[in-house]
Amino acid sequence: MPAMNMIEALGSAHDVMMERDPSVVVFGEDVGYFGGVFRVTAGLQKKYGKTRVFDAPIAEGGIAGTAIGMALYGLRPVFEIQFADYIFPGFDQIFSEASRIRYRSAAEWAVPLVIRSPYGGGIFGGQTHSQSPEAFFAHMPGVKTVIPSNPYDAKGLLIAAIEDNDPVLFFEPKRIYNGPFDGFYERPVTPWAKHPLAEVPEGYYTVPLGKAAVAREGNDVTILAYGTMVHVALATAEAEGVDAEVIDLRTIVPVDIEAIEASVKKTGRCVVLHEATRTAGFGAELAALVQERCFYHLEAPVVRVTGFDTPYPHSLEWTYFPGPARLGPALRKALED
C-alpha cells in the first residue's frame, strides 16, 4: 500500500469518485488548471477535462450559490474554499439555502454537495489564513461537519462525504497536510511517510461520517479532539506520561456520542481540546454533552483547552496555539482534581 500525505490522499479521493461517478464536478479558486494552492486537485483537470474540473471567480458566495444549483440539478459538486477564513462571503448560501432546501421543500429537493476548505493555524498565516470556524457550522441544522486528522481518514471521509446526500463541510487542517504536527513547534517537522495512517489504499473505500476513532486507548483521562489537535493530544499524553484515551471525533456533526460516553464513563475525567477560540466554541458543546450524560461518572470538572478569544495572531502564533504547554497543565489539573 502506498504512503500518502493528506494532500495526496485527498487528491486520490477526488480521483476515485470522479472515475466512479460522472456527476461529480470539482471547482473553486485556482482549483482547475493550477490544481489548487495546496495542490489537492492537481492533475484532475488534465484527466477529467475542463467541464468537470474548473476555476472559479473569486466570489465565495457565487461559488456556493452555483454549487447549490448544480446539486439541485443532480450533480455532486465538490468545491474548494481556498482558506476557511474566506468562507464567510458564502455563509449565507450555506446557512440560509444549502442547509435548509431539503427541509423547506419537504425533501422534494436535496443538495448533495461537499465544501472542502483548508483550515486551522500553525503555519504563520496570520489572522486571515489560520482560523477554525467549525463552530459556526456545527450550530447550523442541516449540514454535516467533518475534520480529518490523517491521510487514511481524509480519503475515506471525503469519499463518504461526496456520497452523502446532504451538504457536508469538510475542513482540512492545513498544518497536517504534509506531516502529523504535534504542537512541539521547535522540533523538526515529521513527514507522513512512516506513519501507519499514511498507508492509504489507492482505490475506493469509505470511513463513515459520524463515527469517532480511538486514537489512543487509555484509562485515566479522556481527551476529545479532532484534526491537528489529535496529534497534539497524543504527543502531550506521551510527554506528560499520562495514560490518556484520545478520541478523534472525525465528524463533529453528527458527533459520535456513544464513543464519547463510553470513554468518559471509563476514565471519569475529560479534557476537551480544539484550536478555535474558546467562547461558544465546539468544546462548549462537548463539555455540555459530557456533563449531561456522564455527570455521575465524572471525578473532576471537564477542562477546556482551546485557542484564546482573540483574532488569530501572526508573530504570537505559539502563544495562541493550544499546544503541549497548555494541554499538559490541563491534563494534570483534570487528574489532580
Binding site: T51, G65, T66, G69, Y73, R104, E108, V253
Partner: protein
C-alpha cells in the same frame, strides 16, 4: 397550492413555509426561499449543470429591483457570463421594495438592464405590462440560451400597484391612489384589449372565463379549507418537525423528536 397557502394537513411542504413559497419539482419549479437574491446564482448553477451534462434544459430566475443590490445578483451575473450559462436572468422592476423606491437600488443613474453591459451579457428592457413584449423577449433569450449563446438579462419594467404584502400600507410612503395612476396599465386588461381589437376575444367570453376561473379558485379554497387552515387545523404531525433536516435522522434529532412527542403527549 391552496393547501400550501394554509399550511394545513394537505400541505405537501408539511407546513414549513410561508404562504406562496411553493415548490413543484415535477413542473420544474424550484422551492421559493424567502431570502432575497439567494436563488439567482442557484439558477445559474442549475443552468451550468445542464450544460455540464450536455443537456438542452435552460434555467430562468427572477429578482426584484431592490434585491439587485445584493451581492448574489452580481455573483450570478459574473458566473453566468464567465461560464456562458444557459440562463435567463429576469429583473422584475416594479419600482418599489416595500417602502423603498428603485432609486435606492441605483436606478436613478442608470437602468437595471444597463448593468448587463458591464458583464458582457445582452440586456433587454421590456414593458413588463405588455404580455406580448415579455413573451417575445423571453423567447429570444430562451433561443439564445438553447443555442449555447449564454445568458440574457431582461428588465421587466412595471409597477407595484398594491402593497408589498397584506400587512403593508403603501399610503404611508407614497401618494394615495398612486397605483391607479400608473400609465402603462394592467397587463391582463391590455392583453384583453389587444385580443378584442383583433377580433380574437370578446367581452362575453371574457366574463365567462373570469367567472369560471373565479369558481375554480373558490372551489379549491373550500376544498382546501376542509383540510384546515393555519389558525384552525394546521399541519400538526409533531415528528415531522424533525424530518428532512437530514436524509436520515441523527441521534440528537431522534432525542429531540422524542422530547417533542413527550411534550405533545403531556399537553393532551
Amino acid at each position: 397550492m391552496m393547501c400550501q397557502v394554509y399550511s394545513n394537513k394537505g400541505d405537501k411542504l408539511k407546513g414549513r413555509q410561508l404562504p406562496i413559497m411553493y415548490s413543484d419539482r415535477a413542473r420544474g419549479f424550484f422551492s421559493i426561499s424567502g431570502n432575497l437574491g439567494t436563488q439567482y446564482p442557484q439558477a445559474v448553477g442549475w443552468a451550468m449543470a445542464s450544460a455540464i451534462k450536455g443537456d438542452s434544459r435552460i434555467a430562468a430566475g427572477w429578482i426584484g429591483d431592490g434585491a439587485t443590490a445584493e451581492g448574489d445578483f452580481h455573483n450570478a451575473c459574473t458566473f453566468a457570463a464567465v461560464y456562458r450559462a444557459p440562463v435567463i436572468l429576469n429583473i422584475v422592476n416594479n419600482q418599489w421594495a416595500i417602502s423603498t423606491f428603485s432609486g435606492i437600488a441605483g436606478e436613478e443613474l442608470t437602468t437595471f438592464a444597463a448593468r448587463a453591459i458591464g458583464y458582457g451579457i445582452p440586456g433587454l428592457r421590456v414593458d413588463g405590462n405588455d404580455a406580448l413584449a415579455v413573451y417575445a423577449a423571453t423567447s429570444w433569450a430562451a433561443d439564445r440560451a438553447r443555442s449555447n449563446l449564454g445568458p440574457t438579462i431582461i428588465e421587466l419594467f412595471t409597477y407595484r400597484v398594491e402593497g408589498h404584502s397584506t400587512s403593508d400600507d403603501p399610503s404611508a410612503y407614497r401618494p394615495q391612489g398612486a397605483g391607479a395612476k400608473w400609465p402603462l396599465g394592467d397587463p391582463i386588461q391590455r392583453l384583453k384589449g389587444h385580443l378584442v381589437a383583433l377580433g380574437e376575444w370578446d367581452e362575453e367570453r371574457d366574463r365567462q372565463l373570469l367567472d369560471q376561473l373565479g369558481e375554480e379558485v373558490r372551489t379549491a379554497q373550500k376544498e382546501s379549507e376542509k383540510l384546515g387552515t393555519l389558525g384552525n387545523g394546521h399541519y400538526d404531525d409533531v415528528s415531522s418537525l424533525f424530518e428532512d433536516v437530514f436524509e436520515e435522522l441523527p441521534w440528537h434529532l431522534r432525542e429531540q423528536r422524542d422530547q417533542a412527542l413527550a411534550e405533545a403527549e403531556a399537553k393532551r
